[in-house]
Symmetry: C2
Subunit: 558 residues, 2 copies
Amino acid sequence: MSSTPSDLEIARAARIRPIEEIAAAAGINADALEQYGRYKAKIDPARLQAPAPAGKVVLVSAMSPTPAGEGKSTTTVGLADSLARAGHKVMIALREPSLGPVLGMKGGATGGGYSQVLPMDEINLHFTGDFHAVTAANNALMALVDNHIYQGNQLNIDPRRMTFKRVLDMNDRALREVVIGLGGPTQGVPRQDGFDITVASEIMAVFCLATDLADLRSRLGRITFGYTFDRTPVTVADLGVQGALTLLLKEAVKPNLVQTIAGTPAMVHGGPFANIAHGCNSLIATQTARRLADIVVTEAGFGADLGAEKFMDIKARTGGLAPSAVVVVATVRALKMQGGVAKNQLTEPNIAALEAGVANLHRHVRNVEKFGVPPVVAINRFSSDSAEELDWLLAWCAAEGVPAAVADVWGRGGGGHGGDDLAALVAKTVAGPNNFRHLYALGLPVEDKIRTIAQEIYGADGVDFSVPALKRLADIERNGWGGLPVCMAKTQYSFTDDASRLGAPKGFTIHVRDLLPKTGAGFIVALTGAVMTMPGLPVAPAAMRMDVDGDGNPVGLA
Amino acid sequence: MSSTPSDLEIARAARIRPIEEIAAAAGINADALEQYGRYKAKIDPARLQAPAPAGKVVLVSAMSPTPAGEGKSTTTVGLADSLARAGHKVMIALREPSLGPVLGMKGGATGGGYSQVLPMDEINLHFTGDFHAVTAANNALMALVDNHIYQGNQLNIDPRRMTFKRVLDMNDRALREVVIGLGGPTQGVPRQDGFDITVASEIMAVFCLATDLADLRSRLGRITFGYTFDRTPVTVADLGVQGALTLLLKEAVKPNLVQTIAGTPAMVHGGPFANIAHGCNSLIATQTARRLADIVVTEAGFGADLGAEKFMDIKARTGGLAPSAVVVVATVRALKMQGGVAKNQLTEPNIAALEAGVANLHRHVRNVEKFGVPPVVAINRFSSDSAEELDWLLAWCAAEGVPAAVADVWGRGGGGHGGDDLAALVAKTVAGPNNFRHLYALGLPVEDKIRTIAQEIYGADGVDFSVPALKRLADIERNGWGGLPVCMAKTQYSFTDDASRLGAPKGFTIHVRDLLPKTGAGFIVALTGAVMTMPGLPVAPAAMRMDVDGDGNPVGLA
């Protein structure tokens, strides 16, 4: 075995306990537990004998991501393990991985090193089938819509103004732009179309924001999938299939229980895109975890400018949550990249670059405070970090008055004391006062909500709306959707809408090119650039390395 | 409540036992059981402590199907329940329902009345995710193929000669004929394409014929998905992704355990099309059931001319099975339709029509004997059947020397003595001698295999091959595929290839218009007419009636 075992090797070597033991230790009554294999289970919130949600929420977010890697999920797992080790009743709430990227570039997305959720291979493959259920519900809707058009189109749907696509949980470039319904009068009505990846489906966002089954049904009914020839929005309720879609999702909405390598209970449930959606695990999972644990450690996609802002203004608002702390994950490597160092130079100590790049962390930390929530900086240690660099960064945080700790959760895991300092800081922080507030009121006009986010969080001078975006703003007001929160789709690599501008840029404008009303999920997506909603596979897909060994064990997940 | 409760009402009123109780009673060690919710489980054959397969196989087949309905699955369940009641150690092996038709016309496919497998709603919806896994494996393959073409096409694949499609488990007419890869050089390589329903995927057939995980991997590797520009077949192994596809299927291939209303254990696993594939549940499920039970009751799609023949010549040959009896399900109603009575006249007693239509049953029964296996006729009783008609039919069977019994498995279920007579006949039959033989040797040329089936089973004078079919026959021999068995794709409604010719026609020719080599599944499909591999939705899809009630219970499955 090599000196650095792979994530899969570490995961397979770990001692994994039967899920009913994890459930019992977490206080879950057997009646509410539905096993899916030996190490996975669904929890039925309706049968759970536990009080109303009361656990404190710790959101793990990050500085702006770079190709150097930040390790947000790894930190989430390691922090929770360390809190558990310190005697806190803790639970994790994480997103489920999408199969497409697992087969494409990533090879897996369940933390890393000694801070992983298990069973790593099953979570990364089909898990409990939730994403397949979302795919089926999404595609049932579109089959029913195209059938409605084919059978006479009583609703007068304009096939050229469809705003909803079919989906697959696959990286499949060839399906981005297609023409369907070919073959003549018995085969359908031809129209231009395309497929998204399942995590980009509005049904995934609906799934993750629903408070219960009844709310899921209402939200599904409110989805606008297109417009009539006279430009009236057409909803799922107009078609009358919200019941069937709810039926297809009724088991999937029950949150999934798994465990970390250290045995901490983890809810892994739902996984909407972090650009055209809000990028957090399901609200039902977070709330169920808050019924069972005193502290729930959860995360949001991308950096704090996107993930934390959406968590606060969309998810926390929908669920009536008030987060008690935001952990901002930073690494010496990533800060040096923000300071202008190339990826192949990152192993060399460089205090000057760190000093330049820390401006990025600074803005994220100050942004968190704008929500009235105390930030904690987690310095996720890499083996190439020098003691001098780590000390400089800790000193900078101290001077700024921000609690900070170095965490070695990848190399040692929560079980190996790698996150003890971080856990102590977080425990102290959540015990303190909480003045949580949203960044903007829902009553503001949509364009002002966007301006508020751009100026307060990104540091922009202002917002420039394209002509189509201005037209869409008027449509949104006319259709009565102006009271919805905003979901920004912006590059995660920069505070600006230009991915190449690192650090903490000033003197820029955010360009909104279009707006997408997601009336089921309940937000308006503001597009600031091209958003890829169907990834492609690389030259050498991860799938090429995957296999099953002679004993049926997985090979090549990483 | 109405006097005739729906299948869903009966299913929900039934007492259902925890699946671990059913498993324990069936002799399944806890270590081999993987629960999926409270009432479903997967069995790991590798961990099962049970002897090699030895249980006797009873195949339930039928006369030629009519719109009057035959109740093959209902009879399978009722027979097994009655055998269990009589003290036999029995297990059922059935196909899983496909979601597309459930949402479309059927509303469900798990038996009927008091002879159903439970939990009816979960089996009809996502069950344990097997079909979703097949969908994912199929579509991963096609994403990898189109990516290969896009990334330089080292294998020299001709995009115009692709023989494999993407699939969805959905009735989606608009996807039958599509153009993919549009949008310019960064989006893919345009080509004409289409989607099939998941049950039509060759991967489903492979899944159902594999003997174990290693055999599954080999078969996946042997799938031919297209041809090069110089017309050489290209396989999954050429692309090098059989490992990834196996990994995606490794949990799904474990057979699923459920129970009937009467508590009989049932393996419900896999479900390939009965026209372009062999139409039986997985071989792994049948063999696992044979390790646990003395009698395994299983079924095959369509009438005995298609289902039983394929069971004998494809599945039984692959698995080394020797069926001990074939139950041929017949109904008075269906026989009268075969005798020329219209569907709306079936409730009127009509011995003359019965006498005319029984020729259809006669040919099926004699066909079964050609495989050296004794037939048993199950007369599935409908409330409109007159005593005179039932007596006439029993007398006819007696005169022909064929054991026969009336079964009332829908109305009374196996638990209500509705199948006692049938069970007694079947038990007696399987205790007798067995001279099982295949209809043809694999060494025969493909065209002679087809001729043998057409003449011996269908009663045709001969076979006429189209010019393209003759060309394809030559290709098949050249590519070394001539030793594979044949899988006939013919209308299920007639012994001929013309659906309107009922009864037992004579003096006809079978027309083979094309041949499809399925080198992974290991058979050559002979197409005798148009085969619909992607169904459409009707004017009023079953989905429109489906919903979830206030307690989260399903509504509208039928």
